[in-house]
């Protein structure tokens, strides 16, 4: 079985997964799984940016309080 991933498109992508006994088995990543992963990546990006802004604002407010 060809383990290479296609360059693009929504077709299922076969990838290799190693089981506990060390045997590589084919594992198909579906279009739905990729969509979910993309949404999670965006959510994580928003959280990280939000956290950066939060720390920035906390610093500004606390410096203002003690200034």
């Amino acid at each position: 079985m060809d383990m290479k991933q296609p360059a693009g498109g929504d077709a299922p992508r076969p990838t290799a997964r190693t089981t506990t006994n060390g045997v590589a088995t084919p594992h198909v990543v579906t279009a739905e799984a990729r969509r979910r992963q993309r949404r999670k990546n965006w959510a994580l990006l928003i959280v990280l940016v939000g956290l950066s802004v939060l720390f920035y604002l906390i610093t500004i407010v606390r410096m203002g309080n003690h200034g």
Binding site: R36, K40, A43, F55, L57, I58, V61, R62, N65
Partner: protein, 307 residues
Amino acid sequence: MADLSLRTDAAHGVDGAVHEAASVGDFVQLLKPRVMSLVVFSGFAGLYVAPGHIHPFLAAVAVLCIAVAAGASGAINMWYDRDIDAIMRRTRNRPLPAGRMDPAEALGFGVVLSLLSVLVMALAVNYVAATLLALAIGFYVFVYTVWLKRRTPQNIVIGGAAGAFPPMIGWAATTGEVSLVSLALFALIFMWTPPHFWALALVKNGDYRNAGVPMLPVVAGDTATKRQMLVYTVLLLPVALVPCALGFASLAYAAVATAMSLVFIGFSLRLLGDAENRTAMKMFGFSLLYLFVLFAALIADRALGLA
């Protein structure tokens, strides 16, 4: 080791399959958003009614930290309880027992959010609030979830302390200390928790029995549970009036607290004579309203300058 094998099976979901692509919604579900609303409200109430001043932005950060910590504790609880969640009808569609999420992912999510919430609270607000927040998380995870829940019918009586922390944390966020009034708010939720949870446990008795969770209705039966619920609701009346006795709340609050407590006692009495437990869910619903109304009355007291 038998327990461990059960856990491993449950981690693969009730259908035995591992689904690796958890959605954003699954992570949100892991935070128990419905439970979070009451925690956030009581935390905000403690913060708002406390004497002193806190910058509105830092107040919002404090409430956010309380919300995130509550959600994180819920996520760790779901990770630990995934084996019994798979057995109970009420919980079997949660992301872990349904097999939509890797257990390690859920644990990591909960631990990271817990640490982050305490860290931000310490940096943005103060160390007392952060310490109380860490205590609340630790109490919920280690004392309630790991130690008490599967061992004693008094699980939610002692474990209920974890849910009683938020107003004290909110209070500490504003004042930087723990006072008698904040302890009174803690006691209010602590005494409220047993009748609140047991009302639900009476209805979900079969679920808890199947999962082997020794909730009071499973161990002692319905009647003994209803008697204890009555005792707690009767004791709740004077506890609800302690803020007035300390000179912190007005007579208007006292009137509201007395009326609501009497209705709560009325529900307990009705439930005691209700062999079919038809009143149980109504009492559960009223218990939520009870806490919202009492904290709203305290907020109104402070906003209108009545106390």
